[in-house]
Symmetry: D2
Subunit: 355 residues, 4 copies
């Protein structure tokens, strides 16, 4: 008899949701995608073609989907604004949850997901920080963890999207929480991973510009942001995010220790092909985030599935996802206020007046 | 109702066989691994743990496996010496076949597989040239094919294994056909792909040395081989193979045209991590062939499956696999005789006396 | 008759001074090194061996050297604390001046050099920002200048020295002006070059840590500093400097425009050699600043000489050197105060109270 | 009193000759260019502008130049056909000689230069194998020499010129000796350097094509050549040369030992700039040989000068230059005859009949 498979539903079938659905359907041997939810007629149509023939039930009502017989886990990949609500509902329905990042653009709402999860300690609730599952990042972490660079001290990380001239990012900015919450949330999460999950933020400061999309200002956002974050204990991180890369997605990270440095994707690459032509030597890089991290998403699906089935620990704690939102929001606030924001040694905000 | 899956059996559960079995079991959504064959008790044991619980029937008799109810396709991944015999038996049992490279170390026997396949044109019979499924090679081919380098003229390719001090390769050399048939067969196949499947060989010449394993000479083999191949029509290729790389597997290729050049893995990489330490900047590369081409094998399994289920064309012809063995064997002969070997414009060998 | 050569003296024969002296002696065909000054007996000894036999007169008194018969130009390469005084004296003696960076660690004193130079418009007075003469930086600038990346908007640059465990940098920090003035001054100058010499600073903020040399705190300095600089007109720059690189000197820069990006030394290299060994693939990078920029210093000497002899424009204005010190000092102040510092649209500092 | 400078004359002021003349004039502090010879009126004109004002006497008669008062050394940089004759005349006039490669396209004539030099052991006579003075090649050699790659066993090297559509190479091929003598002579010399100056050739075989310039066939030449060379003692080398690179000059080398590998310029680079644009990430590489090796030529001039003035050993023996021509000519012959050529253990050719 074949081993039992985790019965999974996917909420949201947009760009990332469809990928999650297909990954759980086709590339996660121990999982079975049994249900999918989307309120969007176009996505329903896509699901009827790509999911239904494989036995997936399509729902247009999230609550109804939660009641799908035998369901054990939900992937929340809807728009950010409903992440938290849907995650909490799933938790309350005693379902494991893999929730796309960020939990919410609000620290308080993010915290409410964590609170809900804490009330059901038997459930696996994970925020989908996909880079945690990337082979290169894991390789870097393991090398650092084995002491190869001494004491990690300076962290630099960037999330840089290819320019999308369609104006998509302007509309998107209304709900994204801003570039530091939407893009750099990954980099902040990585900093917490590499510096230690319980690192306490000491200060944040950010600046930014609208170089190609001045309309972003109406949503208090920018298309290029730079942020510095101090942590208590003599560690600093700095971040860059951009929406205007010409060549493609360039996410990179370096972690600098007292005895060495590790970089991930410092010299960005796509395939292993180089073209020599009259313009010199040229290589292409992935056009988007999924082009860079596709395999990480597959690993994420498989490891989440294994943790649910085997009741083993998830690779990282949900509390970090709240901490990441807190830092991202503070950077976004600093960008807009022009003020540096300080925190005491337990991470409580220090009001400027007190300085 | 879920779509029907291709019922697949895997013959051979050694290093590559086990990988094929797991790929068809776990990473080929449209296939179902239903049977596996191995005469080796240790491999049977492995199969009982890794395959049987998922519903795979284990056989120790190949012919019996072929009679597995509902079987549609066989992956032949046993030792090279029985590839041809097993492939032919499967073809005669009306089964699709994916046969590991080379079909045989003998041109005649390789031809007999082709002959058998031609008698059953409805079957899909493919030689497992895994690099054909690699994203980087496909990217390079497509760029060449679209004219970006003008007329392809010079081809260079190498297959270089990490040094294995265990002596494995010495024992292996007894049956491998020699370094040009075992290693460079990939490079030769790539040359035929990039220069055109019907390219006709004009001459071959090879030299080589036993730099680390002098015992190879007793099997008429070397641990470092260099070969040059002329094709009719003004094209040349040259190949290098080695069994003594210190850093890991370094397979690379470049195709030079009249207006540009494409290289694949010229600057070998593993993950995207670089380490900066007191010895400089360092990166690791894959330790073995599978580390470099894992995803290509998964694609191979999926595309072979799709071609069988949908009755579509395979991505390349079986006849090329015979041609590749012919060139590989000629290089190996030239290595040992010290003579260049010439062929006429239809590929028939010209005896030295006739020169 | 051979063309006349510029009669040059070199003040200071320490690490950089000796290099300047030899470059003017041996690698600057249109210049003749005729005099050198140093108060240090060990340096005098070195000069007797390396300079005197080639006809260079050695002085231990700077003023006396200025009166060397026929002298036309002085290279000021003494310790930073006397740069300005010696430069001004040379200017007042009607001599061209190439002064090592920074002019001074004080904005006011730097300005006094500029003022002196303005009183003698016929003289060539240049601050030795060596990267301005580097082939790679010039290549990058020319590409940007020709419009290849659209409107330059974000600038990132770092100056990272190899760890020197001798404690040299602690003693040095007493007079260096701090890491932002000593190291990042180069990066700030580059930002002014790429963004335009007359860019006006809008805000600066900096953080930093003492990761390996806590004693730096007594000189209000750090061994790793991060700074952000906003310019009026929608441009931002960020900088990193470090004294603890394990692998060697890694100075790098990238300039990001609305249509592309240029990077200089993103993937640091030394010679073109790569070593493949059991630890992977490895390359060394220059151990120090001169290893990276040796040829730039030679070009600097030759171009300064040509400008003096031919009375042509220097490649950049002296006023930028004052602006660079101003920004460097503000970053250093921000590092120590923990406050962001703001400037109005003509570059005048805005006191916090006014915010 | 300034130290005495080597009194140097330069014969030939074509492309390379002019560079040599300027290097000895401006970038070789211990040398003084006092004379130059060219029979070409255009080159005389150039010399009147660029050399005469610096005190260089221009000659249109080589013999007359040799009698220039006080002359100590001659750089022979005329066309290959007169290298040997001019070098021998200079030697007989008791002058040190730096002769451009190759000494001759004939082994016998090359040998006659060596014979002449042996009759004047007090003279420094060097063949200008410029790569011997390149920092990267020296770095690689030193690493190999210190044992870092075990026993060097396989050598690969290429000399690949940018496509010159003017047809220059066709006319040039009449006297160049062919691609293996003109281009790969550098690679052959490097093989002799890395494998040991006294390595004895065992066999050579070559193939080639005219991919872009079919007219080369009338001079028995090709635009893409591949050659294999066996050396006695278990070493092999293979070479590639091309006249049709699209991106620029790509000369590269790798030396593979039993415990590691060293590569020089495997991933070709020019400046340290990378451009990120809509076509991906791009870098330019040098357009020609001098762009890649300019600094090596300067080093060559300085080291040759030092050896003459100080009567120290040259960095390599002249006999190797004859050996390199011998191998290059044999490759060219093999290319045209289609035959492999064999040599006995003292390097004497074995006639085919004896095989």
């Amino acid at each position: 008899m074949a081993p039992q498979k985790l019965q999974v539903a996917c909420a949201g079938l947009g760009r990332m949701g469809a990928r999650h659905a297909l990954n759980f359907l086709n590339r996660t041997p121990r999982a079975q995608l049994v249900a999918a939810f989307t309120p969007d007629p176009k996505e329903v149509q896509w699901a009827k073609t790509h999911l239904e023939p494989s036995g997936v039930t399509i729902y247009t009502d999230y609550d109804e989907m939660l009641r799908h017989s035998g369901l054990e886990a939900v992937v929340v990949a809807t728009v950010t604004t409903v992440h938290a609500e849907e995650a909490i509902k799933a938790i309350e329905a005693n379902l494991h949850v893999l929730c796309e990042k960020p939990l919410s653009t609000s620290v308080e709402i993010s915290q409410s997901v964590l609170d809900a999860a804490r009330r059901k300690p038997q459930l696996k609730v994970m925020c989908g920080f996909s880079r945690r599952f990337d082979a290169s990042y894991r390789d870097a972490f393991n090398r650092m963890d084995s002491g190869s660079i001494g004491r990690p001290s300076v962290f630099r990380s960037q999330t840089c999207d290819k320019l999308d001239p369609s104006g998509f990012f302007v509309a998107y900015a209304e709900f994204s929480g801003g570039i530091f919450v939407d893009c750099n949330i990954h980099d902040i999460d990585l900093a917490l991973w590499f510096f230690g999950q319980d690192s306490v933020v000491k200060s944040v400061a950010a600046v930014g510009i609208c170089a190609v999309q001045p309309e972003l200002r109406k949503h208090k956002d920018v298309d290029n942001g730079i942020g510095m974050v101090e942590f208590w204990g003599g560690k600093v991180a700095y971040f860059y995010s951009s929406r205007m890369m010409a060549a493609g997605q360039h996410d990179m990270t370096e972690i600098i220790g007292t005895e060495g440095k590790l970089s991930v994707n410092a010299s960005p690459t796509g395939t292993l092909v180089e073209m020599h032509g009259s313009a010199g030597v040229q290589r292409e890089i992935p056009a988007d985030y999924y082009g860079r991290f596709e395999h990480a998403f597959v690993t994420e699906a498989n490891e989440f599935t294994a943790a649910c089935l085997d009741n083993t620990r998830l690779p990282f704690k949900l509390s970090g996802a709240v901490q990441a939102v807190k830092i991202g929001c503070a950077l976004q606030e600093s960008l807009n206020s022009g003020q540096k924001i300080n925190f005491d040694e337990v991470g409580r905000r220090i009001e400027s007046a007190r300085l």
